[in-house]
Symmetry: none
Subunit: 208 residues, 4 copies
Amino acid sequence: MTSPRPLRADAARNRELLLAAAADEFAERGLDASVADIARRAGIGKGTVFRHFATKDDLLAAIVVDRIAALNGVGERLLDAADPGAALLEFLTAAAHQRQQRDLSFLQEAGDLSEEVTSLRTRMFHTVHRLVDRAREHGAIRADVTGADVILLMCAPNHVVSYVPDAPPDLWRRYLAIIFDGLRPEGAHPLPQPPPDGYGERVQSSAR
Amino acid sequence: MTSPRPLRADAARNRELLLAAAADEFAERGLDASVADIARRAGIGKGTVFRHFATKDDLLAAIVVDRIAALNGVGERLLDAADPGAALLEFLTAAAHQRQQRDLSFLQEAGDLSEEVTSLRTRMFHTVHRLVDRAREHGAIRADVTGADVILLMCAPNHVVSYVPDAPPDLWRRYLAIIFDGLRPEGAHPLPQPPPDGYGERVQSSAR
Amino acid sequence: MTSPRPLRADAARNRELLLAAAADEFAERGLDASVADIARRAGIGKGTVFRHFATKDDLLAAIVVDRIAALNGVGERLLDAADPGAALLEFLTAAAHQRQQRDLSFLQEAGDLSEEVTSLRTRMFHTVHRLVDRAREHGAIRADVTGADVILLMCAPNHVVSYVPDAPPDLWRRYLAIIFDGLRPEGAHPLPQPPPDGYGERVQSSAR
Amino acid sequence: MTSPRPLRADAARNRELLLAAAADEFAERGLDASVADIARRAGIGKGTVFRHFATKDDLLAAIVVDRIAALNGVGERLLDAADPGAALLEFLTAAAHQRQQRDLSFLQEAGDLSEEVTSLRTRMFHTVHRLVDRAREHGAIRADVTGADVILLMCAPNHVVSYVPDAPPDLWRRYLAIIFDGLRPEGAHPLPQPPPDGYGERVQSSAR
DNA sequence: AATGAATGAGTATTCATTCAT
DNA sequence: AATGAATGAATACTCATTCAT
């Protein structure tokens, strides 16, 4: 889980600069952001990028890992909140807020980036399931909605907003509110299709 | 609206093969799908792609134009349906159904592809606004939701499902249902942000 | 020398249209002129071009053959002119005039276009040698200048002018005059290098 | 004038290899010479070409700039030579010698490559005008010849020789001698056309 | 015979990745 | 450890040439 040996002070600093620059570039330019631009933004040489991360995908994976870990932390902390409905909404708010008006979708695209991403994501999915289960038990969300549904809908507010050219930075909140209203029990109509499997329902009991 | 001269039989066939292959490639690989791959998928030579469409963007524009035109046709036909709420839901169903589990999002990314795309999209946006206005007046959807909101949410069901590896072909219906429930008046909570401008609200009254 | 079988009337007409269009395109755009543009200019289909000439090079060769033949005709007619000096100048004037302000250089570049070009060119070179020999014998040009020199200098006026953006159509006459003055006996300074071989001096007596 | 920062030793070496290879390729194949061929000839990778010069045109511009600058240097040094006629001949000799039997013509084709090429060329043209004016005042060349004429004729010796398959390396001297004899006052015949404008006659007094 | 649709080799350029300094 | 130079695979697009209509 931790790096094999502690990095030298300057190397550690470069690593942070690099991760921040890469996150910004990916957010602005999408996954096509070039390594050269990332290096320039970080103020380091292109070769140094590859010293820290063997491939561009590894760099992306590191960012995604950071994000998922942080998000999972928020989720776990919310697991014993007093109001489970409010806790779920807060979790989704945190998820969307993480990159603000940016599309978080690569969280999901980052499918086969690395073992670490996969296992960490599974853990986060499990946290979501527990948050959803608690909210459902409290009647805060409708009975026919599962953790997998919430996981899939989690990125929608950011995605939706990503098409608005100069969107106000909090516009995603509007669509999160609408979608969350769709998860509430009031006025719920029956759902036409069963939820998908494979989003960590059973905590990978017989995982693969 | 019609082609200047009718294509030769084989050329027309290739054109269809090409459009279908391109739609699939774009859907699977995103806008970076390579022309070479599209040609291979269509079973035609690379040069033939450029004989039909001068640039990759023109090819994309042709697909998008087809889609938007068809969708707008559906919308306009639904404008005088008896039940405006059902009409709106049917429109959204048609929108998502068009490419089934495929991500329709490039419909929006296709920003400045061509004059034709832009004007056609504006017209379609206007149709959505009218469908939404009618539904709202009938109390079928909440008062604080606009046409722009529906336009933005329109692609969400497909987008959401695009992350599910082997999704059943109708899974999108589940998420459309949830999101549509979020648009209903029952259990609506106040929305934290105003809707965005620029999605054809005013029928381009001062349309440049 | 003549085509194997007489062309149908329309085919013969197309051939002329094509040759004229190609000559113009090559003159305007250089040797990179595209076959498609030539066909369009001739008002015929691209496939028809290749029915008349198997390759683009063959088309070029046909033009060059026409030019060389015409030029040689002029030269042969001038062989028994009364004033050999004036005859040589007239020949060079005709050569440059043929394509007016256009560079005739492909006459030489067309080195390995075809057997026909080669043999015809050899014949034309021989004509030039005879014109030059007569002019020299009459004292109209300096003693140390050969037919090969004149052949090489023949295209220079057009070439020189080709760099002037909007040259007046007769500007080449100025440079032909200067160069021809350099060939005159008056004020001739000794030449530092011998003339090159291989420009038909000996009429390759056993020609092929 | 000097590079912003000194190149690394190996990069500097590659740059020279590249410029030399490109000059040769352009001379042999014309402006259509492919970057791939140039790279191969230089013994470097295709990508390295673009590391040194962002576009093929930039590469060409660099070559042309080198040539023009060197030539202008020679010209300026000859401005106060004792014998203006000999000075002009020496300048033309230097111009043709620069690339020996290579065609210098792209010096002129390089029309709108860059601001630098344009301004440097204007300066060189001005130098030629001054050399010519001095030579004319001394009676070394005929009265009706201008700097523009000499500029246009400057490349002719190389051009003429470029058609001779295995020309001896100094053959151009023969044609320079003939052309220069045409510029002398002795035996000059009146010129039929006025000289062209736009070759820097007035030292760009009202320079745009 | 004439057409223009189809083809694929070729072109300039980009960019992740490797390597010498 | 850091740099940036070098590399070549990949990409959109062009065009001479072939082939079905």
